[in-house]
Protein backbone atom coordinates (compact mmCIF):
# COMPACT_ATOMS: atom_id res chain seq x y z
CA UNK A 1 0.00 0.00 0.00
CA UNK A 2 1.31 3.39 -0.92
CA UNK A 3 2.03 5.90 1.74
CA UNK A 4 -0.85 8.23 2.36
CA UNK A 5 -0.48 11.59 3.96
CA UNK A 6 -2.81 14.13 5.39
CA UNK A 7 -1.99 17.77 5.00
CA UNK A 8 -3.72 20.44 7.06
CA UNK A 9 -3.36 23.97 5.83
CA UNK A 10 -4.43 26.82 8.07
CA UNK A 11 -4.54 30.19 6.43
CA UNK A 12 -6.47 33.38 5.71
CA UNK A 13 -10.08 32.85 4.64
CA UNK A 14 -9.75 35.15 1.66
CA UNK A 15 -7.19 32.78 0.13
CA UNK A 16 -9.56 29.82 0.07
CA UNK A 17 -10.63 30.19 -3.52
CA UNK A 18 -7.10 30.62 -4.90
CA UNK A 19 -5.81 27.70 -2.91
CA UNK A 20 -8.60 25.47 -4.09
CA UNK A 21 -7.83 26.27 -7.69
CA UNK A 22 -4.10 25.78 -7.27
CA UNK A 23 -4.62 22.39 -5.64
CA UNK A 24 -7.05 21.36 -8.33
CA UNK A 25 -4.40 22.18 -10.86
CA UNK A 26 -1.87 19.82 -9.35
CA UNK A 27 -4.38 17.03 -9.52
CA UNK A 28 -6.01 17.08 -6.13
CA UNK A 29 -9.65 16.27 -6.49
CA UNK A 30 -10.84 16.10 -2.94
CA UNK A 31 -10.47 18.45 -0.03
CA UNK A 32 -12.36 19.53 3.01
CA UNK A 33 -12.65 23.08 4.30
CA UNK A 34 -13.60 24.27 7.70
CA UNK A 35 -13.86 27.58 9.45
CA UNK A 36 -11.64 27.81 12.47
CA UNK A 37 -10.37 30.51 14.78
CA UNK A 38 -6.67 30.98 15.02
CA UNK A 39 -4.31 32.33 17.57
CA UNK A 40 -0.71 32.81 16.56
CA UNK A 41 1.86 35.50 16.02
CA UNK A 42 -0.71 37.58 14.21
CA UNK A 43 -2.32 39.41 17.05
CA UNK A 44 -5.97 40.20 17.24
CA UNK A 45 -7.09 43.64 18.09
CA UNK A 46 -8.58 45.32 21.03
CA UNK A 47 -11.56 47.53 20.39
CA UNK A 48 -14.09 49.41 22.44
CA UNK A 49 -17.63 48.15 22.44
CA UNK A 50 -19.91 50.51 24.30
CA UNK A 51 -16.90 51.81 26.18
CA UNK A 52 -15.73 48.41 27.41
CA UNK A 53 -12.66 46.72 26.15
CA UNK A 54 -13.40 44.14 23.49
CA UNK A 55 -10.58 41.79 22.63
CA UNK A 56 -10.92 40.05 19.33
CA UNK A 57 -7.93 37.79 19.64
CA UNK A 58 -9.14 34.74 17.82
CA UNK A 59 -8.95 35.49 14.15
CA UNK A 60 -11.08 33.80 11.55
CA UNK A 61 -8.97 31.30 9.61
CA UNK A 62 -9.73 28.58 7.16
CA UNK A 63 -8.45 25.05 7.50
CA UNK A 64 -8.07 22.87 4.44
CA UNK A 65 -7.59 19.15 4.91
CA UNK A 66 -6.24 17.14 2.03
CA UNK A 67 -5.27 13.53 2.03
CA UNK A 68 -2.90 12.67 -0.77
CA UNK A 69 -1.14 9.65 -2.02
CA UNK A 70 -0.04 9.94 -5.59
CA UNK A 71 0.45 13.66 -5.54
CA UNK A 72 3.72 14.25 -3.69
CA UNK A 73 3.45 16.01 -0.36
CA UNK A 74 6.21 18.38 -1.33
CA UNK A 75 4.32 19.54 -4.33
CA UNK A 76 1.25 20.28 -2.24
CA UNK A 77 3.32 22.13 0.30
CA UNK A 78 5.20 24.18 -2.23
CA UNK A 79 2.06 24.98 -4.21
CA UNK A 80 0.22 26.06 -1.10
CA UNK A 81 3.14 28.07 0.17
CA UNK A 82 3.38 29.90 -3.09
CA UNK A 83 -0.29 30.77 -3.24
CA UNK A 84 -0.59 31.73 0.38
CA UNK A 85 2.55 33.67 1.10
CA UNK A 86 2.08 37.40 1.51
CA UNK A 87 5.03 37.84 3.83
CA UNK A 88 2.93 39.23 6.61
CA UNK A 89 2.10 37.48 9.85
CA UNK A 90 -1.00 35.43 9.55
CA UNK A 91 -0.02 33.60 6.38
CA UNK A 92 -0.58 30.42 8.28
CA UNK A 93 0.90 27.00 8.73
CA UNK A 94 0.91 23.65 7.06
CA UNK A 95 0.88 20.47 9.11
CA UNK A 96 1.65 17.04 7.71
CA UNK A 97 0.46 13.77 9.23
CA UNK A 98 0.74 10.13 8.33
CA UNK A 99 -2.47 8.44 7.31
CA UNK A 100 -3.11 4.77 7.73
CA UNK A 101 -5.98 4.20 5.44
CA UNK A 102 -8.66 5.76 3.31
CA UNK A 103 -12.01 4.29 2.35
CA UNK A 104 -14.34 5.60 -0.30
CA UNK A 105 -17.81 5.04 1.01
CA UNK A 106 -19.57 4.90 -2.32
CA UNK A 107 -17.47 2.08 -3.71
CA UNK A 108 -15.82 0.62 -0.66
CA UNK A 109 -12.45 1.02 -2.34
CA UNK A 110 -9.53 1.37 -0.01
CA UNK A 111 -6.18 3.05 0.05
CA UNK A 112 -4.89 4.89 -2.95
CA UNK A 113 -7.83 3.91 -5.10
CA UNK A 114 -10.13 5.65 -2.71
CA UNK A 115 -8.56 9.02 -3.45
Amino acid sequence: MDKMTKIDIITRPEKAEDLKEALNQIGITGMTFSHVLGCGLQKGKSEYYRGSQYKIDLLPKIKIEVVVCEVPVDLVVSTATQVLRTGEVGDGKIFVYATQDVVKVRTGEQGVKAL
Partner: protein, 404 residues
Amino acid sequence: MEDLKFVMDTIWVLVAAALVFFMQAGFAMVETGFTRSKNAGNIIMKNLMDFSVGSVIYWAVGYGLMYGTDLGGFLGMPSFFFSGDYTALIFQTVFCATAATIVSGAMAERTKFSSYLIYSFFISLLVYPISGHWIWGGGWLSQLGFHDFAGSTAVHMLGGAAALVGAYVLGPRLGKYTKDGRSMAIPGHSVTLGALGVFILWFGWFGFNGGSQLAASSVEDALAIGRIFVTTNLAAAMAAIAAMTVTWIRYKKPDVSMTLNGALAGLVAITAGCDVVTPVGAAVIGLLGGVTVVFAIEFVDKVMKVDDPVGAVGVHMVNGALGTVMVGVFAVDGGVLYGGGFGLLGVQALGVVAVLAWTLLTTYIIFNVINLTVGLRVSEKEEMVGLDLEEHGMESYADFQVRT
Protein backbone atom coordinates in the same frame (compact mmCIF):
# COMPACT_ATOMS: atom_id res chain seq x y z
CA MET B 1 -69.25 70.52 16.42
CA GLU B 2 -68.61 69.05 19.84
CA ASP B 3 -69.27 65.66 18.32
CA LEU B 4 -66.89 66.28 15.50
CA LYS B 5 -64.21 67.31 17.93
CA PHE B 6 -64.76 64.13 19.89
CA VAL B 7 -64.50 61.98 16.81
CA MET B 8 -61.40 63.68 15.48
CA ASP B 9 -59.64 63.60 18.81
CA THR B 10 -60.52 59.97 19.35
CA ILE B 11 -59.35 58.77 15.97
CA TRP B 12 -56.06 60.59 16.37
CA VAL B 13 -55.47 59.08 19.77
CA LEU B 14 -56.29 55.61 18.44
CA VAL B 15 -53.88 55.92 15.56
CA ALA B 16 -51.27 57.06 18.04
CA ALA B 17 -52.11 54.18 20.37
CA ALA B 18 -51.44 51.70 17.58
CA LEU B 19 -48.08 53.36 16.93
CA VAL B 20 -47.19 53.26 20.60
CA PHE B 21 -48.19 49.61 20.74
CA PHE B 22 -45.76 48.98 17.91
CA MET B 23 -42.97 50.31 20.10
CA GLN B 24 -43.22 46.97 21.90
CA ALA B 25 -41.77 45.40 18.78
CA GLY B 26 -39.04 48.00 18.88
CA PHE B 27 -38.13 47.26 22.46
CA ALA B 28 -38.17 43.54 21.79
CA MET B 29 -35.79 43.93 18.85
CA VAL B 30 -33.41 46.31 20.61
CA GLU B 31 -33.23 44.13 23.68
CA THR B 32 -32.75 40.89 21.85
CA GLY B 33 -30.32 42.37 19.34
CA PHE B 34 -28.11 43.83 22.06
CA THR B 35 -27.88 40.58 24.02
CA ARG B 36 -26.64 37.09 23.25
CA SER B 37 -28.32 34.58 20.99
CA LYS B 38 -28.60 32.00 23.74
CA ASN B 39 -31.10 34.24 25.50
CA ALA B 40 -32.88 35.67 22.47
CA GLY B 41 -36.14 33.77 22.88
CA ASN B 42 -36.26 34.45 26.59
CA ILE B 43 -36.01 38.19 26.19
CA ILE B 44 -38.65 38.12 23.48
CA MET B 45 -40.91 36.17 25.76
CA LYS B 46 -40.39 38.64 28.57
CA ASN B 47 -41.29 41.50 26.28
CA LEU B 48 -44.39 39.74 25.06
CA MET B 49 -45.53 38.77 28.51
CA ASP B 50 -44.93 42.05 30.28
CA PHE B 51 -47.16 43.62 27.68
CA SER B 52 -49.78 40.91 28.05
CA VAL B 53 -49.79 40.85 31.82
CA GLY B 54 -49.61 44.62 31.95
CA SER B 55 -52.55 45.02 29.58
CA VAL B 56 -54.73 42.90 31.79
CA ILE B 57 -53.65 44.32 35.14
CA TYR B 58 -53.77 47.90 34.02
CA TRP B 59 -57.30 47.37 32.76
CA ALA B 60 -58.32 45.52 35.88
CA VAL B 61 -56.76 47.83 38.44
CA GLY B 62 -54.02 50.17 37.29
CA TYR B 63 -56.09 52.60 35.29
CA GLY B 64 -58.40 53.18 38.23
CA LEU B 65 -55.54 53.98 40.57
CA MET B 66 -54.08 56.38 38.06
CA TYR B 67 -57.11 58.24 36.81
CA GLY B 68 -59.72 57.68 39.52
CA THR B 69 -60.95 60.63 41.51
CA ASP B 70 -57.97 62.10 43.26
CA LEU B 71 -57.45 61.00 46.85
CA GLY B 72 -55.23 63.50 48.60
CA GLY B 73 -53.05 64.08 45.56
CA PHE B 74 -51.49 60.67 45.99
CA LEU B 75 -53.60 58.19 44.11
CA GLY B 76 -56.88 57.77 42.31
CA MET B 77 -59.92 56.19 43.88
CA PRO B 78 -59.60 52.51 42.97
CA SER B 79 -62.14 51.06 40.57
CA PHE B 80 -61.84 47.80 38.74
CA PHE B 81 -62.15 46.55 35.19
CA PHE B 82 -62.33 49.88 33.49
CA SER B 83 -65.40 50.77 31.57
CA GLY B 84 -66.10 54.08 29.93
CA ASP B 85 -64.48 55.63 26.87
CA TYR B 86 -62.13 52.85 25.95
CA THR B 87 -59.89 55.07 23.88
CA ALA B 88 -58.44 56.46 27.07
CA LEU B 89 -57.80 52.97 28.35
CA ILE B 90 -55.96 51.67 25.32
CA PHE B 91 -53.83 54.78 25.02
CA GLN B 92 -52.84 54.64 28.67
CA THR B 93 -52.28 50.89 28.52
CA VAL B 94 -49.63 51.16 25.85
CA PHE B 95 -47.88 53.85 27.87
CA CYS B 96 -47.91 51.72 30.97
CA ALA B 97 -46.53 48.82 28.96
CA THR B 98 -43.72 51.00 27.67
CA ALA B 99 -42.59 51.76 31.20
CA ALA B 100 -42.83 48.11 32.17
CA THR B 101 -40.88 46.72 29.24
CA ILE B 102 -37.87 48.98 29.67
CA VAL B 103 -36.75 46.87 32.60
CA SER B 104 -36.37 43.60 30.74
CA GLY B 105 -33.35 44.84 28.79
CA ALA B 106 -31.38 45.88 31.84
CA MET B 107 -32.12 42.60 33.58
CA ALA B 108 -31.54 40.51 30.48
CA GLU B 109 -29.67 37.20 30.29
CA ARG B 110 -29.90 36.24 33.96
CA THR B 111 -33.38 36.91 35.35
CA LYS B 112 -35.72 34.02 36.08
CA PHE B 113 -38.70 34.11 33.80
CA SER B 114 -41.26 33.54 36.52
CA SER B 115 -39.79 36.28 38.69
CA TYR B 116 -39.91 38.66 35.79
CA LEU B 117 -43.62 37.97 35.44
CA ILE B 118 -44.15 38.86 39.08
CA TYR B 119 -42.27 42.10 38.67
CA SER B 120 -44.38 42.91 35.56
CA PHE B 121 -47.49 42.37 37.57
CA PHE B 122 -46.54 44.87 40.24
CA ILE B 123 -45.16 47.63 38.08
CA SER B 124 -48.42 47.76 36.11
CA LEU B 125 -50.52 47.35 39.20
CA LEU B 126 -48.96 49.91 41.49
CA VAL B 127 -45.66 51.53 40.71
CA TYR B 128 -46.53 53.11 37.40
CA PRO B 129 -50.17 54.02 38.14
CA ILE B 130 -49.46 55.80 41.38
CA SER B 131 -46.70 58.13 40.28
CA GLY B 132 -48.61 58.39 37.03
CA HIS B 133 -51.49 59.74 39.06
CA TRP B 134 -49.26 62.43 40.54
CA ILE B 135 -48.28 63.63 37.09
CA TRP B 136 -51.20 62.96 34.79
CA GLY B 137 -54.07 61.88 37.01
CA GLY B 138 -54.62 65.13 38.83
CA GLY B 139 -52.22 64.32 41.70
CA TRP B 140 -49.92 66.60 43.60
CA LEU B 141 -47.27 67.11 40.93
CA SER B 142 -49.79 68.12 38.33
CA GLN B 143 -51.26 70.52 40.86
CA LEU B 144 -47.84 72.12 41.22
CA GLY B 145 -47.60 72.66 37.48
CA PHE B 146 -45.15 69.88 36.77
CA HIS B 147 -44.86 69.50 33.00
CA ASP B 148 -44.20 66.07 31.58
CA PHE B 149 -45.98 66.12 28.27
CA ALA B 150 -45.61 62.57 27.04
CA GLY B 151 -43.74 60.95 29.88
CA SER B 152 -39.99 61.53 30.11
CA THR B 153 -40.49 61.08 33.82
CA ALA B 154 -43.81 59.27 34.14
CA VAL B 155 -42.82 56.54 31.70
CA HIS B 156 -39.13 56.55 30.84
CA MET B 157 -37.43 57.67 34.00
CA LEU B 158 -39.67 55.38 35.97
CA GLY B 159 -38.89 52.43 33.73
CA GLY B 160 -35.19 53.27 33.73
CA ALA B 161 -35.05 53.59 37.52
CA ALA B 162 -36.82 50.26 37.93
CA ALA B 163 -34.27 48.86 35.49
CA LEU B 164 -31.42 50.20 37.60
CA VAL B 165 -32.77 48.67 40.76
CA GLY B 166 -33.47 45.37 39.05
CA ALA B 167 -30.02 45.14 37.52
CA TYR B 168 -28.42 46.16 40.79
CA VAL B 169 -30.27 43.60 42.89
CA LEU B 170 -29.57 40.89 40.33
CA GLY B 171 -25.87 41.52 40.04
CA PRO B 172 -23.84 41.41 36.83
CA ARG B 173 -23.82 38.61 34.28
CA LEU B 174 -21.12 35.99 34.67
CA GLY B 175 -18.01 37.22 32.97
CA LYS B 176 -19.09 40.85 32.79
CA TYR B 177 -16.47 42.01 35.28
CA THR B 178 -13.00 40.59 35.73
CA LYS B 179 -11.76 39.74 39.19
CA ASP B 180 -10.07 43.10 39.41
CA GLY B 181 -13.30 44.83 38.46
CA ARG B 182 -12.68 45.70 34.84
CA SER B 183 -15.78 45.78 32.67
CA MET B 184 -15.66 43.35 29.75
CA ALA B 185 -17.59 43.72 26.52
CA ILE B 186 -20.33 41.17 25.92
CA PRO B 187 -21.42 41.99 22.40
CA GLY B 188 -25.03 41.60 21.34
CA HIS B 189 -25.98 38.98 18.79
CA SER B 190 -27.61 41.08 16.10
CA VAL B 191 -26.87 44.70 15.48
CA THR B 192 -29.31 44.63 12.56
CA LEU B 193 -32.25 43.59 14.71
CA GLY B 194 -31.20 46.11 17.34
CA ALA B 195 -31.12 48.86 14.73
CA LEU B 196 -34.46 47.77 13.34
CA GLY B 197 -35.80 48.12 16.86
CA VAL B 198 -34.49 51.66 17.09
CA PHE B 199 -36.12 52.60 13.80
CA ILE B 200 -39.40 51.08 14.99
CA LEU B 201 -39.16 52.99 18.26
CA TRP B 202 -38.44 56.24 16.48
CA PHE B 203 -41.45 55.61 14.24
CA GLY B 204 -43.67 54.77 17.19
CA TRP B 205 -42.47 57.83 19.04
CA PHE B 206 -44.37 60.04 16.62
CA GLY B 207 -47.43 58.41 18.13
CA PHE B 208 -46.06 58.58 21.64
CA ASN B 209 -45.39 62.31 21.56
CA GLY B 210 -47.86 63.35 18.88
CA GLY B 211 -50.67 61.34 20.43
CA SER B 212 -50.09 62.90 23.82
CA GLN B 213 -51.66 66.05 22.47
CA LEU B 214 -54.81 63.95 23.00
CA ALA B 215 -56.66 66.14 20.52
CA ALA B 216 -56.55 66.76 16.82
CA SER B 217 -59.53 68.88 16.09
CA SER B 218 -58.47 72.50 16.23
CA VAL B 219 -55.97 74.54 14.30
CA GLU B 220 -53.96 74.81 17.50
CA ASP B 221 -53.87 71.05 17.85
CA ALA B 222 -52.78 70.60 14.27
CA LEU B 223 -50.02 73.16 14.57
CA ALA B 224 -48.95 71.72 17.89
CA ILE B 225 -48.73 68.18 16.60
CA GLY B 226 -46.78 69.32 13.57
CA ARG B 227 -44.32 71.03 15.84
CA ILE B 228 -44.14 68.02 18.13
CA PHE B 229 -43.18 65.86 15.15
CA VAL B 230 -40.38 68.26 14.33
CA THR B 231 -39.06 68.67 17.87
CA THR B 232 -39.18 64.93 18.37
CA ASN B 233 -37.35 64.23 15.16
CA LEU B 234 -34.72 66.90 15.60
CA ALA B 235 -33.91 65.86 19.13
CA ALA B 236 -33.40 62.27 18.03
CA ALA B 237 -31.28 63.29 15.06
CA MET B 238 -29.09 65.62 17.07
CA ALA B 239 -28.69 63.06 19.81
CA ALA B 240 -27.57 60.43 17.32
CA ILE B 241 -25.04 62.83 15.87
CA ALA B 242 -23.84 63.80 19.33
CA ALA B 243 -23.50 60.25 20.62
CA MET B 244 -21.66 59.24 17.47
CA THR B 245 -19.26 62.13 17.83
CA VAL B 246 -18.56 61.49 21.49
CA THR B 247 -17.85 57.81 20.91
CA TRP B 248 -15.69 58.66 17.91
CA ILE B 249 -13.56 60.86 20.10
CA ARG B 250 -13.49 58.62 23.16
CA TYR B 251 -13.13 55.23 21.51
CA LYS B 252 -11.43 56.34 18.28
CA LYS B 253 -14.25 54.82 16.24
CA PRO B 254 -17.93 55.71 15.97
CA ASP B 255 -19.71 53.10 18.06
CA VAL B 256 -22.80 51.71 16.36
CA SER B 257 -24.75 50.46 19.32
CA MET B 258 -24.01 53.55 21.36
CA THR B 259 -25.16 55.79 18.51
CA LEU B 260 -28.37 53.80 18.37
CA ASN B 261 -28.73 54.38 22.11
CA GLY B 262 -28.04 58.03 21.37
CA ALA B 263 -31.05 58.34 19.09
CA LEU B 264 -33.22 56.78 21.77
CA ALA B 265 -31.76 59.08 24.40
CA GLY B 266 -32.76 62.09 22.33
CA LEU B 267 -36.27 60.72 21.98
CA VAL B 268 -36.56 60.12 25.71
CA ALA B 269 -35.18 63.55 26.54
CA ILE B 270 -37.54 65.46 24.26
CA THR B 271 -40.61 63.59 25.43
CA ALA B 272 -41.33 65.84 28.40
CA GLY B 273 -41.04 69.09 26.55
CA CYS B 274 -41.74 68.31 22.90
CA ASP B 275 -44.79 70.59 23.00
CA VAL B 276 -43.25 73.59 24.73
CA VAL B 277 -39.78 73.98 23.27
CA THR B 278 -38.77 75.41 19.93
CA PRO B 279 -37.06 73.28 17.32
CA VAL B 280 -33.81 74.95 18.30
CA GLY B 281 -34.50 74.06 21.91
CA ALA B 282 -35.25 70.52 20.84
CA ALA B 283 -32.00 70.29 18.93
CA VAL B 284 -30.06 71.44 21.97
CA ILE B 285 -31.89 69.03 24.25
CA GLY B 286 -31.10 66.27 21.76
CA LEU B 287 -27.47 67.29 21.73
CA LEU B 288 -27.31 67.17 25.50
CA GLY B 289 -29.08 63.84 25.55
CA GLY B 290 -26.68 62.33 23.04
CA VAL B 291 -23.64 63.45 24.98
CA THR B 292 -25.08 62.49 28.32
CA VAL B 293 -26.11 59.01 27.36
CA VAL B 294 -22.57 57.93 26.52
CA PHE B 295 -21.19 59.09 29.84
CA ALA B 296 -24.19 57.80 31.73
CA ILE B 297 -23.85 54.32 30.26
CA GLU B 298 -20.15 54.30 31.05
CA PHE B 299 -20.83 55.53 34.56
CA VAL B 300 -23.39 52.84 35.29
CA ASP B 301 -21.08 50.24 33.80
CA LYS B 302 -17.73 51.24 35.16
CA VAL B 303 -18.32 53.24 38.26
CA MET B 304 -21.53 51.84 39.66
CA LYS B 305 -20.63 48.44 38.21
CA VAL B 306 -24.25 47.73 37.47
CA ASP B 307 -24.55 45.49 34.44
CA ASP B 308 -27.17 46.89 32.09
CA PRO B 309 -26.71 45.02 28.80
CA VAL B 310 -28.76 47.37 26.65
CA GLY B 311 -28.09 50.71 28.31
CA ALA B 312 -31.64 51.13 29.59
CA VAL B 313 -30.60 53.13 32.64
CA GLY B 314 -28.53 55.58 30.65
CA VAL B 315 -31.15 55.97 27.97
CA HIS B 316 -34.38 56.03 29.96
CA MET B 317 -33.60 57.01 33.52
CA VAL B 318 -30.86 59.53 32.98
CA ASN B 319 -32.32 61.09 29.86
CA GLY B 320 -35.83 60.96 31.24
CA ALA B 321 -34.63 63.04 34.16
CA LEU B 322 -32.52 65.30 31.97
CA GLY B 323 -35.33 65.96 29.54
CA THR B 324 -37.79 66.72 32.29
CA VAL B 325 -35.48 69.18 33.96
CA MET B 326 -34.63 70.79 30.62
CA VAL B 327 -38.28 71.75 30.26
CA GLY B 328 -37.57 74.22 33.04
CA VAL B 329 -34.79 75.68 30.92
CA PHE B 330 -36.15 75.54 27.37
CA ALA B 331 -39.90 75.90 27.75
CA VAL B 332 -40.89 78.94 25.76
CA ASP B 333 -43.41 79.66 28.44
CA GLY B 334 -41.73 79.56 31.83
CA GLY B 335 -38.27 78.30 30.97
CA VAL B 336 -35.17 79.94 32.41
CA LEU B 337 -33.81 80.85 29.00
CA TYR B 338 -37.00 82.60 28.06
CA GLY B 339 -37.10 84.76 31.15
CA GLY B 340 -39.44 82.51 33.05
CA GLY B 341 -37.26 82.45 36.14
CA PHE B 342 -36.51 79.37 38.16
CA GLY B 343 -40.00 78.44 39.30
CA LEU B 344 -40.74 75.89 36.61
CA LEU B 345 -37.23 74.51 36.78
CA GLY B 346 -37.69 73.94 40.50
CA VAL B 347 -40.99 72.13 40.02
CA GLN B 348 -39.49 69.99 37.30
CA ALA B 349 -36.55 69.05 39.46
CA LEU B 350 -38.84 68.31 42.36
CA GLY B 351 -40.97 66.05 40.21
CA VAL B 352 -37.94 64.16 38.99
CA VAL B 353 -36.64 63.65 42.48
CA ALA B 354 -40.01 62.59 43.84
CA VAL B 355 -40.72 60.06 41.09
CA LEU B 356 -37.17 58.79 41.26
CA ALA B 357 -37.44 58.27 44.99
CA TRP B 358 -40.82 56.58 44.63
CA THR B 359 -39.59 54.24 41.94
CA LEU B 360 -36.30 53.34 43.55
CA LEU B 361 -38.02 52.62 46.82
CA THR B 362 -40.95 50.59 45.58
CA THR B 363 -39.01 48.58 43.05
CA TYR B 364 -36.25 47.96 45.58
CA ILE B 365 -38.84 46.40 47.83
CA ILE B 366 -40.44 44.43 45.01
CA PHE B 367 -37.20 43.03 43.63
CA ASN B 368 -35.87 42.15 47.05
CA VAL B 369 -39.05 40.43 48.08
CA ILE B 370 -39.01 38.43 44.85
CA ASN B 371 -35.35 37.67 45.40
CA LEU B 372 -35.90 36.40 48.92
CA THR B 373 -38.94 34.33 48.05
CA VAL B 374 -38.90 32.78 44.59
CA GLY B 375 -35.45 34.05 43.72
CA LEU B 376 -34.64 36.58 41.05
CA ARG B 377 -31.75 34.98 39.27
CA VAL B 378 -31.25 31.74 37.39
CA SER B 379 -28.51 29.35 38.45
CA GLU B 380 -24.97 29.67 37.17
CA LYS B 381 -25.40 26.66 34.98
CA GLU B 382 -28.60 27.99 33.47
CA GLU B 383 -26.94 31.30 32.79
CA MET B 384 -23.98 29.59 31.16
CA VAL B 385 -26.01 27.34 28.92
CA GLY B 386 -28.50 30.08 28.15
CA LEU B 387 -32.03 30.87 29.20
CA ASP B 388 -33.56 29.72 25.94
CA LEU B 389 -32.55 26.14 26.52
CA GLU B 390 -32.87 26.10 30.26
CA GLU B 391 -36.04 28.07 30.75
CA HIS B 392 -37.87 27.37 27.51
CA GLY B 393 -36.33 24.21 26.15
CA MET B 394 -35.53 25.60 22.76
CA GLU B 395 -32.93 27.29 20.66
CA SER B 396 -33.74 30.57 18.97
CA TYR B 397 -31.46 29.91 16.03
CA ALA B 398 -31.57 26.17 15.68
CA ASP B 399 -30.08 26.14 12.18
CA PHE B 400 -27.05 28.25 12.83
CA GLN B 401 -23.67 27.35 14.13
CA VAL B 402 -23.24 29.42 17.22
CA ARG B 403 -19.84 30.53 18.49
CA THR B 404 -19.33 29.72 22.16
